[in-house]
Amino acid sequence: MPDKRLLILAALAVVVAVAFMTVGLRGNIGFALELRAVRLVTLIQVGVAIAISTVVFQTVTANRVLTPQIMGLDALYMFGQMALVLALGSVGYVALDPRLKFVGEAGLMMAMALVLFLPMLRRRFDIGLLLLTGVVLGVLFRSLASLIARLIDPNEFAVVQGSSFADFNTVRPDLVIVGLMVTTIAAIIIWRLRHLLDIVALGADSATGLGVSWTKALAGLLLLVAALVAVSTALVGPVTFFGLLVVALAERIVDSRRHRLLLPAAMLTAVIVLLGGQIVLQHLLGGAATLGVVIEFVGGLVFLAMLITTSKR
Protein backbone atom coordinates (compact mmCIF):
# COMPACT_ATOMS: atom_id res chain seq x y z
CA MET A 1 0.00 0.00 0.00
CA PRO A 2 1.76 3.17 -1.14
CA ASP A 3 1.87 6.06 1.24
CA LYS A 4 -0.77 8.76 0.74
CA ARG A 5 1.79 11.55 0.75
CA LEU A 6 3.76 9.80 -1.96
CA LEU A 7 0.67 9.56 -4.12
CA ILE A 8 0.04 13.29 -3.73
CA LEU A 9 3.67 14.03 -4.64
CA ALA A 10 3.45 11.76 -7.68
CA ALA A 11 0.23 13.46 -8.84
CA LEU A 12 1.87 16.85 -8.38
CA ALA A 13 4.90 15.73 -10.37
CA VAL A 14 2.67 14.61 -13.25
CA VAL A 15 0.82 17.95 -13.19
CA VAL A 16 4.09 19.89 -13.29
CA ALA A 17 5.41 17.71 -16.11
CA VAL A 18 2.27 18.27 -18.18
CA ALA A 19 2.45 22.01 -17.47
CA PHE A 20 6.10 22.00 -18.51
CA MET A 21 5.15 20.46 -21.85
CA THR A 22 2.16 22.69 -22.59
CA VAL A 23 2.43 26.16 -20.97
CA GLY A 24 3.06 28.91 -23.50
CA LEU A 25 3.16 26.54 -26.48
CA ARG A 26 3.11 28.34 -29.83
CA GLY A 27 4.62 28.23 -33.31
CA ASN A 28 5.64 24.89 -34.76
CA ILE A 29 4.04 22.65 -32.14
CA GLY A 30 5.71 19.44 -33.28
CA PHE A 31 9.17 20.96 -33.08
CA ALA A 32 8.52 22.65 -29.74
CA LEU A 33 7.13 19.46 -28.23
CA GLU A 34 10.13 17.44 -29.35
CA LEU A 35 12.54 20.01 -27.90
CA ARG A 36 10.60 20.14 -24.66
CA ALA A 37 10.40 16.37 -24.42
CA VAL A 38 14.19 16.06 -24.57
CA ARG A 39 14.54 18.77 -21.95
CA LEU A 40 11.86 17.15 -19.79
CA VAL A 41 13.71 13.83 -19.85
CA THR A 42 16.98 15.63 -19.06
CA LEU A 43 15.54 17.52 -16.10
CA ILE A 44 13.75 14.48 -14.69
CA GLN A 45 16.82 12.27 -14.82
CA VAL A 46 19.03 15.00 -13.39
CA GLY A 47 16.55 15.51 -10.57
CA VAL A 48 16.36 11.78 -9.88
CA ALA A 49 20.14 11.35 -10.05
CA ILE A 50 20.79 14.24 -7.66
CA ALA A 51 18.04 13.22 -5.24
CA ILE A 52 18.99 9.58 -4.79
CA SER A 53 22.73 10.21 -4.82
CA THR A 54 22.24 12.75 -2.03
CA VAL A 55 20.05 10.39 0.02
CA VAL A 56 22.58 7.57 -0.29
CA PHE A 57 25.53 9.83 0.44
CA GLN A 58 23.84 11.24 3.53
CA THR A 59 23.11 7.74 4.77
CA VAL A 60 26.64 6.52 4.17
CA THR A 61 28.21 9.52 5.91
CA ALA A 62 25.54 9.60 8.64
CA ASN A 63 25.08 13.32 8.13
CA ARG A 64 22.11 15.28 6.90
CA VAL A 65 23.84 18.46 5.78
CA LEU A 66 25.96 16.74 3.14
CA THR A 67 25.63 16.38 -0.58
CA PRO A 68 28.16 14.60 -2.80
CA GLN A 69 28.80 17.94 -4.45
CA ILE A 70 29.68 19.68 -1.17
CA MET A 71 32.36 17.04 -0.81
CA GLY A 72 33.74 17.97 -4.19
CA LEU A 73 32.59 14.97 -6.24
CA ASP A 74 31.42 17.14 -9.14
CA ALA A 75 34.74 18.98 -9.13
CA LEU A 76 36.41 15.57 -9.27
CA TYR A 77 34.41 14.78 -12.40
CA MET A 78 35.40 18.04 -14.08
CA PHE A 79 39.02 17.44 -13.13
CA GLY A 80 38.86 13.95 -14.65
CA GLN A 81 37.40 15.43 -17.82
CA MET A 82 40.25 17.93 -18.08
CA ALA A 83 42.92 15.40 -17.20
CA LEU A 84 41.75 13.06 -19.94
CA VAL A 85 41.85 15.86 -22.52
CA LEU A 86 45.31 16.85 -21.38
CA ALA A 87 46.65 13.30 -21.40
CA LEU A 88 44.93 12.02 -24.54
CA GLY A 89 44.18 15.19 -26.49
CA SER A 90 46.99 14.56 -28.92
CA VAL A 91 45.76 11.08 -29.89
CA GLY A 92 42.35 12.19 -31.11
CA TYR A 93 40.52 11.77 -27.83
CA VAL A 94 38.57 15.00 -28.29
CA ALA A 95 37.06 13.79 -31.54
CA LEU A 96 35.70 10.61 -29.95
CA ASP A 97 31.98 9.95 -29.60
CA PRO A 98 30.67 11.99 -26.62
CA ARG A 99 29.01 8.86 -25.22
CA LEU A 100 32.30 6.97 -25.20
CA LYS A 101 33.99 9.97 -23.62
CA PHE A 102 31.33 10.15 -20.95
CA VAL A 103 31.82 6.50 -20.07
CA GLY A 104 35.58 7.04 -19.82
CA GLU A 105 35.19 10.15 -17.68
CA ALA A 106 32.63 8.54 -15.41
CA GLY A 107 34.84 5.49 -14.97
CA LEU A 108 37.88 7.57 -14.12
CA MET A 109 35.86 9.64 -11.69
CA MET A 110 34.40 6.57 -9.93
CA ALA A 111 37.91 5.19 -9.49
CA MET A 112 39.21 8.47 -8.09
CA ALA A 113 36.20 8.82 -5.77
CA LEU A 114 36.84 5.36 -4.38
CA VAL A 115 40.54 6.01 -3.81
CA LEU A 116 39.96 9.41 -2.19
CA PHE A 117 36.82 8.99 -0.14
CA LEU A 118 36.73 5.38 0.96
CA PRO A 119 39.67 5.77 3.37
CA MET A 120 38.13 8.99 4.67
CA LEU A 121 34.76 7.38 5.30
CA ARG A 122 36.25 4.26 6.81
CA ARG A 123 38.30 6.16 9.34
CA ARG A 124 35.21 8.03 10.53
CA PHE A 125 36.72 11.47 10.92
CA ASP A 126 35.15 14.14 12.99
CA ILE A 127 32.32 15.23 10.71
CA GLY A 128 33.38 18.88 10.69
CA LEU A 129 36.87 17.96 9.54
CA LEU A 130 35.40 15.64 6.92
CA LEU A 131 33.21 18.42 5.55
CA LEU A 132 35.98 20.99 5.52
CA THR A 133 38.32 18.55 3.81
CA GLY A 134 35.70 17.86 1.18
CA VAL A 135 35.10 21.53 0.51
CA VAL A 136 38.82 22.24 0.21
CA LEU A 137 39.29 19.19 -2.02
CA GLY A 138 36.51 20.62 -4.18
CA VAL A 139 38.40 23.93 -4.46
CA LEU A 140 41.59 22.03 -5.26
CA PHE A 141 40.03 20.00 -8.07
CA ARG A 142 38.16 22.99 -9.48
CA SER A 143 41.39 25.01 -9.56
CA LEU A 144 43.31 22.09 -11.06
CA ALA A 145 40.64 21.74 -13.74
CA SER A 146 40.85 25.41 -14.66
CA LEU A 147 44.65 25.30 -14.52
CA ILE A 148 44.69 22.41 -16.96
CA ALA A 149 42.08 24.19 -19.06
CA ARG A 150 44.50 27.07 -19.47
CA LEU A 151 47.44 24.78 -20.14
CA ILE A 152 45.84 23.02 -23.08
CA ASP A 153 45.10 24.71 -26.37
CA PRO A 154 42.26 27.20 -26.38
CA ASN A 155 40.38 25.24 -29.04
CA GLU A 156 40.61 22.06 -26.97
CA PHE A 157 39.60 24.08 -23.94
CA ALA A 158 36.35 25.00 -25.69
CA VAL A 159 35.47 21.32 -25.93
CA VAL A 160 35.19 20.79 -22.20
CA GLN A 161 34.72 24.30 -20.87
CA GLY A 162 32.54 23.97 -17.81
CA SER A 163 30.75 26.86 -16.20
CA SER A 164 30.95 27.64 -12.51
CA PHE A 165 27.24 27.06 -11.99
CA ALA A 166 24.60 24.76 -13.37
CA ASP A 167 22.87 25.52 -16.62
CA PHE A 168 19.53 23.75 -16.90
CA ASN A 169 18.96 24.97 -20.43
CA THR A 170 21.75 23.17 -22.20
CA VAL A 171 20.24 20.07 -23.66
CA ARG A 172 22.71 17.37 -24.54
CA PRO A 173 20.74 15.01 -26.78
CA ASP A 174 23.92 13.00 -27.31
CA LEU A 175 24.18 12.21 -23.62
CA VAL A 176 20.50 11.88 -22.69
CA ILE A 177 20.21 8.21 -23.60
CA VAL A 178 23.42 7.03 -21.95
CA GLY A 179 22.63 9.17 -18.91
CA LEU A 180 19.14 7.71 -18.75
CA MET A 181 20.59 4.21 -18.80
CA VAL A 182 23.03 4.93 -15.98
CA THR A 183 20.40 6.71 -13.89
CA THR A 184 17.81 3.97 -14.36
CA ILE A 185 20.19 1.13 -13.55
CA ALA A 186 21.56 2.95 -10.50
CA ALA A 187 18.06 3.84 -9.33
CA ILE A 188 16.91 0.23 -9.60
CA ILE A 189 19.96 -1.07 -7.74
CA ILE A 190 19.52 1.52 -4.99
CA TRP A 191 15.81 0.78 -4.71
CA ARG A 192 16.57 -2.93 -4.27
CA LEU A 193 19.14 -2.00 -1.62
CA ARG A 194 16.67 0.16 0.33
CA HIS A 195 16.63 -2.22 3.31
CA LEU A 196 20.41 -2.44 3.32
CA LEU A 197 20.49 1.36 3.36
CA ASP A 198 18.24 1.37 6.43
CA ILE A 199 20.80 -0.87 8.13
CA VAL A 200 23.79 1.18 6.97
CA ALA A 201 22.10 4.23 8.48
CA LEU A 202 22.49 2.62 11.91
CA GLY A 203 26.27 3.07 11.74
CA ALA A 204 29.30 0.86 11.22
CA ASP A 205 29.09 -1.18 14.42
CA SER A 206 25.39 -2.00 14.32
CA ALA A 207 25.51 -2.73 10.61
CA THR A 208 28.46 -5.10 11.02
CA GLY A 209 26.63 -6.74 13.91
CA LEU A 210 23.65 -7.29 11.65
CA GLY A 211 25.82 -9.07 9.10
CA VAL A 212 26.64 -6.29 6.65
CA SER A 213 30.13 -6.27 5.20
CA TRP A 214 30.75 -2.62 5.99
CA THR A 215 33.64 -1.79 3.68
CA LYS A 216 32.12 -3.64 0.76
CA ALA A 217 28.74 -1.95 1.20
CA LEU A 218 30.43 1.44 1.55
CA ALA A 219 32.51 0.95 -1.60
CA GLY A 220 29.51 -0.20 -3.64
CA LEU A 221 27.30 2.66 -2.53
CA LEU A 222 30.07 5.18 -3.13
CA LEU A 223 30.50 3.92 -6.69
CA LEU A 224 26.76 4.30 -7.34
CA VAL A 225 26.84 7.85 -5.95
CA ALA A 226 29.84 8.70 -8.12
CA ALA A 227 28.12 7.39 -11.25
CA LEU A 228 25.00 9.44 -10.54
CA VAL A 229 27.02 12.60 -9.85
CA ALA A 230 28.83 12.04 -13.15
CA VAL A 231 25.48 11.94 -14.94
CA SER A 232 24.13 15.12 -13.40
CA THR A 233 27.41 17.01 -13.78
CA ALA A 234 27.80 15.97 -17.41
CA LEU A 235 24.25 17.00 -18.24
CA VAL A 236 23.83 20.32 -16.44
CA GLY A 237 27.05 21.15 -14.58
CA PRO A 238 27.76 21.55 -10.88
CA VAL A 239 24.76 21.87 -8.52
CA THR A 240 26.06 22.00 -4.98
CA PHE A 241 23.01 22.48 -2.79
CA PHE A 242 20.08 21.26 -4.84
CA GLY A 243 20.23 17.74 -3.39
CA LEU A 244 20.35 19.10 0.13
CA LEU A 245 17.31 21.24 -0.53
CA VAL A 246 15.11 18.49 -1.95
CA VAL A 247 16.13 15.80 0.53
CA ALA A 248 15.47 18.13 3.45
CA LEU A 249 12.08 18.97 1.93
CA ALA A 250 11.25 15.32 1.26
CA GLU A 251 12.20 14.37 4.79
CA ARG A 252 9.80 16.99 6.14
CA ILE A 253 7.03 15.76 3.81
CA VAL A 254 7.18 12.03 4.57
CA ASP A 255 8.47 12.61 8.10
CA SER A 256 10.74 9.59 7.96
CA ARG A 257 14.27 8.55 7.19
CA ARG A 258 13.19 5.09 6.02
CA HIS A 259 14.50 4.67 2.51
CA ARG A 260 11.33 2.98 1.30
CA LEU A 261 9.63 6.36 1.73
CA LEU A 262 12.50 8.81 1.49
CA LEU A 263 13.91 7.67 -1.85
CA PRO A 264 10.72 8.10 -3.92
CA ALA A 265 9.76 11.24 -2.01
CA ALA A 266 13.14 12.85 -2.70
CA MET A 267 12.98 11.90 -6.38
CA LEU A 268 9.51 13.34 -6.81
CA THR A 269 10.35 16.49 -4.87
CA ALA A 270 13.42 17.03 -7.03
CA VAL A 271 11.38 16.68 -10.22
CA ILE A 272 8.67 19.03 -8.93
CA VAL A 273 11.18 21.69 -7.83
CA LEU A 274 13.24 21.53 -11.03
CA LEU A 275 10.31 21.57 -13.46
CA GLY A 276 8.27 24.00 -11.37
CA GLY A 277 11.21 26.36 -10.95
CA GLN A 278 11.89 26.24 -14.66
CA ILE A 279 8.25 27.04 -15.49
CA VAL A 280 8.08 29.93 -13.02
CA LEU A 281 11.38 31.46 -14.15
CA GLN A 282 10.71 30.94 -17.84
CA HIS A 283 7.11 32.06 -18.15
CA LEU A 284 6.55 34.36 -15.19
CA LEU A 285 9.93 36.02 -14.58
CA GLY A 286 11.46 35.68 -18.03
CA GLY A 287 14.86 34.49 -16.84
CA ALA A 288 15.03 30.73 -17.19
CA ALA A 289 18.78 30.88 -17.61
CA THR A 290 19.31 31.67 -13.95
CA LEU A 291 17.53 28.69 -12.33
CA GLY A 292 20.90 27.19 -11.39
CA VAL A 293 21.99 30.36 -9.63
CA VAL A 294 18.67 30.74 -7.81
CA ILE A 295 18.82 27.14 -6.60
CA GLU A 296 22.39 27.64 -5.38
CA PHE A 297 21.37 30.77 -3.50
CA VAL A 298 18.32 29.26 -1.78
CA GLY A 299 20.04 25.92 -1.19
CA GLY A 300 23.05 27.65 0.32
CA LEU A 301 20.82 29.54 2.75
CA VAL A 302 19.09 26.29 3.73
CA PHE A 303 22.49 24.69 4.28
CA LEU A 304 23.60 27.53 6.56
CA ALA A 305 20.35 27.37 8.53
CA MET A 306 20.67 23.59 8.96
CA LEU A 307 24.31 23.94 9.98
CA ILE A 308 23.43 26.44 12.70
CA THR A 309 20.41 24.54 14.04
CA THR A 310 22.08 21.12 14.06
CA SER A 311 25.17 22.49 15.81
CA LYS A 312 23.02 24.09 18.51
CA ARG A 313 21.46 20.76 19.43
Binding site: G128, L132, L137, R150, V293, L304, I308
Partner: protein, 320 residues
Protein backbone atom coordinates in the same frame (compact mmCIF):
# COMPACT_ATOMS: atom_id res chain seq x y z
CA UNK B 1 64.52 26.51 18.67
CA UNK B 2 67.69 26.80 16.64
CA UNK B 3 65.60 26.65 13.51
CA UNK B 4 63.98 30.01 14.16
CA UNK B 5 66.60 32.42 12.78
CA UNK B 6 67.01 30.15 9.80
CA UNK B 7 63.34 30.36 8.90
CA UNK B 8 63.46 34.15 9.07
CA UNK B 9 66.63 34.29 7.03
CA UNK B 10 65.12 32.00 4.44
CA UNK B 11 61.95 34.06 4.11
CA UNK B 12 63.87 37.32 3.85
CA UNK B 13 66.21 35.87 1.23
CA UNK B 14 63.18 34.52 -0.60
CA UNK B 15 61.64 37.97 -0.73
CA UNK B 16 64.77 39.59 -2.14
CA UNK B 17 65.40 36.80 -4.65
CA UNK B 18 61.82 36.57 -5.89
CA UNK B 19 61.51 40.36 -6.09
CA UNK B 20 64.54 40.46 -8.39
CA UNK B 21 63.29 37.48 -10.38
CA UNK B 22 59.88 39.08 -10.82
CA UNK B 23 61.56 42.16 -12.30
CA UNK B 24 63.44 40.04 -14.83
CA UNK B 25 60.64 37.75 -15.99
CA UNK B 26 58.41 38.86 -18.80
CA UNK B 27 57.72 38.44 -22.48
CA UNK B 28 60.22 41.13 -23.43
CA UNK B 29 63.88 40.52 -22.64
CA UNK B 30 65.12 42.78 -19.88
CA UNK B 31 68.80 42.24 -19.02
CA UNK B 32 69.47 44.06 -15.77
CA UNK B 33 72.70 45.57 -17.09
CA UNK B 34 70.94 47.44 -19.88
CA UNK B 35 68.66 49.45 -17.60
CA UNK B 36 71.19 52.25 -17.22
CA UNK B 37 72.10 52.44 -20.89
CA UNK B 38 68.83 51.72 -22.67
CA UNK B 39 65.96 54.18 -22.19
CA UNK B 40 63.38 51.64 -23.42
CA UNK B 41 64.50 49.05 -20.88
CA UNK B 42 64.31 51.59 -18.08
CA UNK B 43 60.81 52.56 -19.15
CA UNK B 44 59.71 48.92 -19.25
CA UNK B 45 61.07 48.46 -15.76
CA UNK B 46 59.42 51.56 -14.31
CA UNK B 47 56.05 51.35 -16.08
CA UNK B 48 55.37 47.62 -16.01
CA UNK B 49 57.76 45.34 -14.10
CA UNK B 50 58.30 47.40 -10.97
CA UNK B 51 54.63 48.37 -10.47
CA UNK B 52 53.58 44.78 -10.97
CA UNK B 53 56.13 43.43 -8.51
CA UNK B 54 55.30 46.08 -5.92
CA UNK B 55 51.58 45.36 -6.34
CA UNK B 56 52.19 41.66 -5.76
CA UNK B 57 54.23 42.36 -2.63
CA UNK B 58 51.65 44.78 -1.22
CA UNK B 59 48.72 42.49 -1.96
CA UNK B 60 50.43 39.40 -0.58
CA UNK B 61 51.47 41.14 2.62
CA UNK B 62 48.05 42.75 3.01
CA UNK B 63 46.04 39.57 2.46
CA UNK B 64 48.22 37.64 4.91
CA UNK B 65 47.68 40.31 7.57
CA UNK B 66 43.95 40.49 6.82
CA UNK B 67 43.79 36.73 7.33
CA UNK B 68 45.72 36.96 10.58
CA UNK B 69 43.49 39.72 11.94
CA UNK B 70 40.30 37.89 10.95
CA UNK B 71 41.57 34.70 12.59
CA UNK B 72 42.17 36.65 15.79
CA UNK B 73 38.74 38.27 15.70
CA UNK B 74 36.88 35.04 14.93
CA UNK B 75 39.18 33.07 17.27
CA UNK B 76 39.54 30.34 14.70
CA UNK B 77 42.68 29.46 12.74
CA UNK B 78 40.91 28.21 9.62
CA UNK B 79 39.27 31.35 8.26
CA UNK B 80 40.38 34.05 5.86
CA UNK B 81 38.53 37.00 4.35
CA UNK B 82 38.57 36.21 0.63
CA UNK B 83 36.85 32.83 0.91
CA UNK B 84 34.54 33.58 3.84
CA UNK B 85 32.32 36.33 2.53
CA UNK B 86 34.47 39.47 2.78
CA UNK B 87 35.75 39.14 -0.78
CA UNK B 88 32.30 38.34 -2.16
CA UNK B 89 30.70 41.21 -0.22
CA UNK B 90 33.34 43.51 -1.68
CA UNK B 91 32.46 42.27 -5.18
CA UNK B 92 28.80 42.99 -4.39
CA UNK B 93 29.79 46.53 -3.41
CA UNK B 94 31.79 47.15 -6.60
CA UNK B 95 28.88 45.79 -8.60
CA UNK B 96 26.44 48.12 -6.83
CA UNK B 97 28.67 51.18 -7.35
CA UNK B 98 29.18 50.24 -11.02
CA UNK B 99 25.43 49.90 -11.55
CA UNK B 100 24.45 53.06 -9.71
CA UNK B 101 27.32 55.32 -10.81
CA UNK B 102 28.78 53.94 -14.05
CA UNK B 103 31.40 56.69 -14.15
CA UNK B 104 32.74 56.14 -10.62
CA UNK B 105 36.51 56.18 -10.17
CA UNK B 106 38.50 53.25 -8.77
CA UNK B 107 38.70 55.04 -5.43
CA UNK B 108 34.90 55.35 -5.31
CA UNK B 109 34.52 51.68 -6.14
CA UNK B 110 36.97 50.76 -3.41
CA UNK B 111 35.01 52.85 -0.95
CA UNK B 112 31.75 51.15 -1.91
CA UNK B 113 33.41 47.75 -1.73
CA UNK B 114 34.82 48.54 1.72
CA UNK B 115 31.38 49.46 3.06
CA UNK B 116 29.73 46.22 1.88
CA UNK B 117 32.78 44.18 2.88
CA UNK B 118 32.55 45.65 6.37
CA UNK B 119 28.87 44.75 6.59
CA UNK B 120 29.42 41.23 5.23
CA UNK B 121 32.33 40.53 7.57
CA UNK B 122 30.43 41.88 10.58
CA UNK B 123 27.56 39.50 9.89
CA UNK B 124 29.99 36.60 9.53
CA UNK B 125 31.72 37.54 12.79
CA UNK B 126 28.38 37.86 14.60
CA UNK B 127 27.27 34.38 13.53
CA UNK B 128 30.71 32.83 14.05
CA UNK B 129 30.70 33.96 17.68
CA UNK B 130 27.36 32.21 18.19
CA UNK B 131 28.53 28.87 16.79
CA UNK B 132 29.67 26.42 19.47
CA UNK B 133 33.42 26.73 20.13
CA UNK B 134 33.63 22.96 20.61
CA UNK B 135 33.41 22.42 16.85
CA UNK B 136 36.30 24.38 15.34
CA UNK B 137 35.70 23.19 11.77
CA UNK B 138 32.15 24.47 11.68
CA UNK B 139 33.18 28.14 11.41
CA UNK B 140 35.33 27.85 8.26
CA UNK B 141 32.71 25.63 6.67
CA UNK B 142 30.03 28.15 7.49
CA UNK B 143 32.24 30.90 6.07
CA UNK B 144 32.90 29.08 2.80
CA UNK B 145 29.22 28.50 2.14
CA UNK B 146 28.33 32.01 3.33
CA UNK B 147 30.81 33.35 0.78
CA UNK B 148 29.30 31.05 -1.85
CA UNK B 149 25.79 32.33 -1.19
CA UNK B 150 26.87 35.98 -1.51
CA UNK B 151 28.79 34.98 -4.64
CA UNK B 152 25.62 33.44 -6.11
CA UNK B 153 23.78 36.70 -5.43
CA UNK B 154 26.55 38.63 -7.21
CA UNK B 155 26.35 36.27 -10.20
CA UNK B 156 22.58 36.57 -10.35
CA UNK B 157 22.62 40.39 -10.35
CA UNK B 158 25.49 40.48 -12.84
CA UNK B 159 23.64 38.13 -15.14
CA UNK B 160 20.47 40.19 -15.06
CA UNK B 161 22.44 43.35 -15.85
CA UNK B 162 24.90 41.86 -18.38
CA UNK B 163 27.93 42.56 -16.21
CA UNK B 164 29.15 38.98 -15.87
CA UNK B 165 32.45 39.72 -17.59
CA UNK B 166 33.23 42.56 -15.20
CA UNK B 167 32.52 40.27 -12.27
CA UNK B 168 34.96 37.78 -13.73
CA UNK B 169 37.67 40.45 -13.52
CA UNK B 170 37.02 41.01 -9.81
CA UNK B 171 36.67 37.37 -8.87
CA UNK B 172 39.73 36.10 -10.71
CA UNK B 173 42.85 37.64 -9.25
CA UNK B 174 45.65 38.42 -11.66
CA UNK B 175 48.39 40.99 -12.00
CA UNK B 176 48.90 41.16 -15.75
CA UNK B 177 46.89 44.39 -15.93
CA UNK B 178 48.97 46.23 -13.35
CA UNK B 179 50.83 49.23 -14.77
CA UNK B 180 52.11 52.46 -13.32
CA UNK B 181 49.15 54.64 -12.45
CA UNK B 182 46.76 51.74 -11.93
CA UNK B 183 47.88 50.19 -8.68
CA UNK B 184 48.84 53.08 -6.42
CA UNK B 185 45.74 52.68 -4.22
CA UNK B 186 47.33 49.47 -2.97
CA UNK B 187 49.74 51.57 -0.89
CA UNK B 188 46.83 52.03 1.53
CA UNK B 189 47.39 48.33 2.27
CA UNK B 190 50.85 49.17 3.55
CA UNK B 191 49.31 51.68 5.94
CA UNK B 192 46.87 49.02 7.16
CA UNK B 193 49.71 46.56 7.77
CA UNK B 194 51.57 49.21 9.77
CA UNK B 195 48.40 49.91 11.74
CA UNK B 196 48.01 46.21 12.50
CA UNK B 197 51.57 46.10 13.81
CA UNK B 198 50.95 49.16 15.95
CA UNK B 199 47.88 47.60 17.65
CA UNK B 200 49.34 44.06 17.71
CA UNK B 201 49.43 43.85 21.49
CA UNK B 202 45.82 44.92 21.78
CA UNK B 203 44.87 42.33 19.15
CA UNK B 204 46.66 39.68 21.22
CA UNK B 205 44.51 40.56 24.22
CA UNK B 206 41.38 40.64 22.07
CA UNK B 207 42.18 37.13 20.87
CA UNK B 208 41.57 35.90 24.42
CA UNK B 209 37.93 36.85 24.16
CA UNK B 210 35.59 39.53 25.33
CA UNK B 211 35.57 38.83 29.07
CA UNK B 212 39.34 38.58 29.46
CA UNK B 213 39.85 41.69 27.33
CA UNK B 214 37.42 43.75 29.36
CA UNK B 215 39.02 42.42 32.56
CA UNK B 216 42.41 43.59 31.32
CA UNK B 217 41.04 47.05 30.62
CA UNK B 218 40.84 46.83 26.84
CA UNK B 219 38.07 48.54 24.92
CA UNK B 220 37.08 45.25 23.26
CA UNK B 221 34.38 46.70 21.04
CA UNK B 222 36.73 49.37 19.69
CA UNK B 223 39.54 46.96 18.80
CA UNK B 224 37.13 44.54 17.10
CA UNK B 225 35.74 47.39 15.01
CA UNK B 226 39.24 48.51 14.09
CA UNK B 227 40.17 44.96 13.10
CA UNK B 228 37.06 44.62 10.95
CA UNK B 229 37.87 47.88 9.16
CA UNK B 230 41.41 46.67 8.44
CA UNK B 231 40.15 43.35 7.05
CA UNK B 232 37.45 45.01 4.95
CA UNK B 233 39.72 47.73 3.50
CA UNK B 234 42.58 45.36 2.62
CA UNK B 235 40.25 42.83 1.00
CA UNK B 236 38.33 45.48 -0.94
CA UNK B 237 41.53 47.03 -2.29
CA UNK B 238 42.68 43.60 -3.45
CA UNK B 239 39.34 42.79 -5.08
CA UNK B 240 39.06 46.13 -6.88
CA UNK B 241 42.64 46.46 -8.08
CA UNK B 242 43.67 42.85 -8.83
CA UNK B 243 40.69 40.57 -8.08
CA UNK B 244 40.10 37.81 -5.53
CA UNK B 245 43.13 35.79 -4.47
CA UNK B 246 42.19 32.92 -2.18
CA UNK B 247 44.12 31.11 0.57
CA UNK B 248 46.97 33.59 1.17
CA UNK B 249 45.30 34.83 4.35
CA UNK B 250 44.64 31.26 5.41
CA UNK B 251 47.89 29.37 4.96
CA UNK B 252 50.44 32.10 5.67
CA UNK B 253 49.48 32.85 9.31
CA UNK B 254 49.31 29.10 10.00
CA UNK B 255 52.69 28.42 8.43
CA UNK B 256 54.34 31.32 10.23
CA UNK B 257 52.87 30.36 13.57
CA UNK B 258 54.34 26.87 13.13
CA UNK B 259 57.78 28.12 12.17
CA UNK B 260 58.09 31.18 14.38
CA UNK B 261 55.57 30.90 17.19
CA UNK B 262 52.63 33.03 18.25
CA UNK B 263 54.10 36.21 19.70
CA UNK B 264 52.01 38.53 17.58
CA UNK B 265 54.09 41.69 17.84
CA UNK B 266 57.31 39.98 16.75
CA UNK B 267 55.70 37.60 14.26
CA UNK B 268 53.39 40.03 12.46
CA UNK B 269 56.02 41.55 10.13
CA UNK B 270 57.05 38.04 9.13
CA UNK B 271 53.47 37.13 8.32
CA UNK B 272 53.43 40.09 5.95
CA UNK B 273 56.78 39.14 4.39
CA UNK B 274 55.79 35.47 4.01
CA UNK B 275 52.52 36.50 2.38
CA UNK B 276 54.48 38.59 -0.11
CA UNK B 277 56.86 35.70 -0.79
CA UNK B 278 54.05 33.21 -1.36
CA UNK B 279 52.19 35.50 -3.73
CA UNK B 280 55.38 36.44 -5.61
CA UNK B 281 56.24 32.77 -6.03
CA UNK B 282 52.75 31.93 -7.31
CA UNK B 283 52.72 34.92 -9.65
CA UNK B 284 56.08 33.87 -11.09
CA UNK B 285 54.84 30.27 -11.49
CA UNK B 286 51.79 31.61 -13.30
CA UNK B 287 54.00 33.60 -15.64
CA UNK B 288 56.40 30.75 -16.42
CA UNK B 289 54.25 27.61 -16.59
CA UNK B 290 52.71 28.46 -19.97
CA UNK B 291 55.25 31.04 -21.15
CA UNK B 292 54.67 33.40 -22.94
CA UNK B 293 50.99 33.18 -21.85
CA UNK B 294 49.98 33.81 -18.27
CA UNK B 295 47.95 31.76 -15.81
CA UNK B 296 46.06 34.02 -13.35
CA UNK B 297 47.65 33.98 -9.92
CA UNK B 298 44.24 33.24 -8.38
CA UNK B 299 44.15 29.91 -10.21
CA UNK B 300 47.71 29.02 -9.19
CA UNK B 301 46.88 29.81 -5.58
CA UNK B 302 43.71 27.75 -5.78
CA UNK B 303 45.93 24.73 -6.38
CA UNK B 304 48.93 25.61 -4.20
CA UNK B 305 46.83 27.13 -1.40
CA UNK B 306 44.28 24.33 -1.07
CA UNK B 307 47.10 21.80 -1.13
CA UNK B 308 48.93 23.65 1.65
CA UNK B 309 45.69 24.00 3.60
CA UNK B 310 45.00 20.26 3.51
CA UNK B 311 48.56 19.69 4.69
CA UNK B 312 48.00 22.09 7.59
CA UNK B 313 44.70 20.42 8.50
CA UNK B 314 46.04 16.90 8.57
CA UNK B 315 49.46 17.69 9.95
CA UNK B 316 47.58 19.14 12.89
CA UNK B 317 45.16 16.30 13.53
CA UNK B 318 47.85 13.68 13.41
CA UNK B 319 49.78 15.45 16.10
CA UNK B 320 46.72 16.02 18.25
Amino acid sequence: MAALPNARLLVAAGLVGLFAASLCIGVDELPMGSVFTDAGALQLLLVSRLPRTVAVVLTGAGLAIAGLVLQILVRNRFVEPITTGTGQSAALGVLAVTLLFPTASIAMKTLGASVTALAGTSIFLGIAHRLPPTQPFLIPLFGLVYGGVIGAAVTFIAWQTDLLQYVDVWTNGEFSGVLRGRYELLWITAAMVALAWWVADRLTIASMGREVSLGLGLNYQRIVQLGLVMVAVISSLAVVVVGMIPFVGLVVPNLVSRLMGDNLKSVLPWVAVTGAVLLLACDIIGRLIRYPYEIPVGTVLGVVGSGLFLWILFGRTQRA
